[in-house]
């Protein structure tokens, strides 16, 4: 029984269909990645899972429970942490307040051990715990966003483009922490990434999306060796017989 099951979901932005019948599964304790180009609908899948958008068709089950159409705060209370694209920290709250808000749905008074856990993963945050979230660098804000979701003690973490806009070394550091989280916190992770190499390295299973549909799915080992993936997402095999990759990439043509 999978922890998260998404069945034939169709989600619209007004009249525009953003995802067209997506099904995917995340097992307890596994990392699943969704790859795809800009506008393929990856973020919309996450928003549909967490309840920020309601699907017009299909269903989302979490932990054996139908969560389709629940408000995002209810979904979070059930144990789904969401690290949104673009970090979205609270700019005028201090780092520590940001983290405490992350634990809002948990009925406890004392979060010091959770805070210590987050500061253990991200020592850079500990040094800045009294500073407003808006003053942090991009990488620190990403750490804060992940830490904030960790404060929920989630069973499933939705990670949306954690490497977006970060220096390569920082992106690798974040990837390492994501891999550690899975083994140490025993949580499942649904990872959306444009950096396909990094995503395939840390995940078990992968889905590839194109214009709102899932066009390919397999274990990450096999995805890494698939020629399409190598060509389009890993940029390995570039030159075809005609000496150019795609017509799209030519700047001029007649």
């Amino acid at each position: 029984m999978a922890l998260l099951t998404v069945r034939n979901v169709e989600t619209y932005y007004g009249p525009i269909m953003a995802i067209r019948g997506v099904s995917l599964e995340v097992d307890d304790g596994g990392i699943v990645t969704v790859l795809g180009a800009n506008g393929a609908g990856k973020t919309t899948v996450l928003k549909t899972v967490c309840g920020a958008m309601d699907p017009r068709k299909g269903a989302v089950d979490f932990d054996g429970r139908d969560i389709t159409g629940l408000d995002p705060d209810r979904v979070a209370q059930l144990g789904v942490g969401h690290v949104p694209e673009g970090r979205e920290v609270f700019p005028f709250l201090t780092v520590e307040e940001n983290l405490v808000v992350g634990a809002f749905s948990r009925k406890r008074a004392d979060f010091s051990d959770d805070l210590e856990m987050v500061y253990g993963y991200f020592p850079a945050l500990a040094d800045r715990r009294k500073q407003p979230g808006g003053f942090l660098s991009g990488g620190e804000q990403q750490m804060l966003a992940i830490g904030r979701a960790l404060m929920l003690r989630p069973r499933l973490m939705l990670l949306d483009e954690p490497s977006l806009g970060l220096a390569p070394t920082l992106a690798r550091e974040i990837a390492g922490i994501v891999a550690r989280l899975r083994s140490e916190q025993r949580m499942a992770i649904l990872l959306v990434e444009q950096n396909a190499r990094m995503a395939l390295d840390i995940s078990d299973y992968g889905y590839v999306m194109e214009t709102g549909r899932i066009v390919m799915e397999d274990t990450c080992e096999r995805l890494k060796n698939a020629t399409d993936i190598q060509e389009f997402y890993l940029g390995m095999k570039d030159r075809g017989v005609r000496g150019r990759r795609r017509w799209k990439q030519r700047k001029t043509w007649r």
Binding site: A52, P72, D73, A76, E88, F90, L93, V100, F104, A149
Partner: protein
């Protein structure tokens, strides 16, 4: 000496403007809605206090506290029934709704309590304190002290309580607050409740120096000016803007030709909009597109 007395009454009047402005700003920050019924909530609060203190005969402070509780409930109920269905509608529609709400509140208050002016029985009315030749009215001191206490309480609430911090979070980034499990809808209700209670407190505090009638809510227009002068979106700015307008109004009323006192609030508003449109405390964050 006259200057001190003017300053004092100006400050106390300004406190009332500031409190109403605080209610405006809180709702604006949390929901990006302008509530033009804020002044009428103050009026309603004053009448509720009259009901408990004058008519039911409760001690003043007990009646005051009950009024606050009732108004929290009123604000939350109003949000739940009238405002929440308007989420997602154009801001202009919400604005018209709150203006209409103001009319309804005035009419209802007139129907229940009558349209004639009333006074709230306060224990400290009319007594004065003389310090070095300056005569200080207790009413004014109570208004200023009460406002200060209320501000401290609010500050502590937003700074230290979990729900207060979550309220700030929800106003800074609503979607991210949702993702953290903050029940944003209930938090928004509570913001309306607190805002209504602050206005009610303003109504009770102003009662000794002003007659209470269903039309007193038009004071809210000056409070709106105060909120803009202070920098819309800044809670301390609302109080400072209110104090500024209150003090200037008193001095203009005495030293300038008749009639200028009444319009001085709006003169300040115009000057402010020309010289520093972002207000005294420009804490409005730049909206990312």
């Amino acid at each position: 000496m006259e200057v001190f007395q003017l300053l004092l009454s100006g400050l106390s009047q300004g406190c009332v403007y500031g409190l109403i402005a605080l209610g405006f700003v809180m709702i604006y920050k949390a929901t990006e809605m302008l509530n033009f019924a804020q002044g009428d909530m103050m009026m309603l609060g004053a009448f509720v206090a009259i009901t408990f203190v004058n008519l039911a005969g409760l001690p003043f402070f007990v009646g005051f506290l009950i009024t606050l509780v009732v108004m929290v409930g009123f604000g939350m109920g109003l949000e739940r029934t009238v405002i929440r269905p308007m989420i997602g509608e154009p801001p202009f529609a919400v604005l018209m709704l709150t203006i209409g709400l103001g009319f309804i509140l005035r009419a209802v208050a007139g129907a229940i309590w009558g349209s004639g002016p009333r006074t709230l029985d306060v224990p400290f009315a009319g007594s004065v304190l003389e310090v070095g030749g300056v005569v200080l009215g207790y009413e004014n001191l109570v208004v200023i002290g009460g406002t200060a206490l209320l501000c401290i309480a609010l500050w502590a609430f937003f700074r230290y309580s979990r729900i207060g911090v979550a309220m700030q979070a929800a106003s800074q980034n609503q979607l991210a607050a949702y993702y953290c499990g903050v029940p944003v809808k209930r938090v928004t209700s509570l913001v309306w409740g607190i805002s209504a209670a602050i206005s009610a407190a303003a109504g009770v505090l102003v009662a000794p120096v002003m007659l209470i009638d269903p039309m007193m809510g038009f004071l809210g227009i000056k409070a709106f000016a105060a909120a803009i002068v202070g920098g819309f979106g800044s809670l301390p700015g609302a109080i400072v803007g209110g104090l500024l307008i209150g003090v200037v109004e008193q001095f203009a009323g005495l030293y300038l030709p008749a009639g200028l006192g009444e319009v001085s609030a709006f003169v300040i508003l115009l000057v402010m909009l020309m010289a520093r449109p972002q207000g005294i405390f420009a804490s409005m964050q730049q909206k990312k597109v």
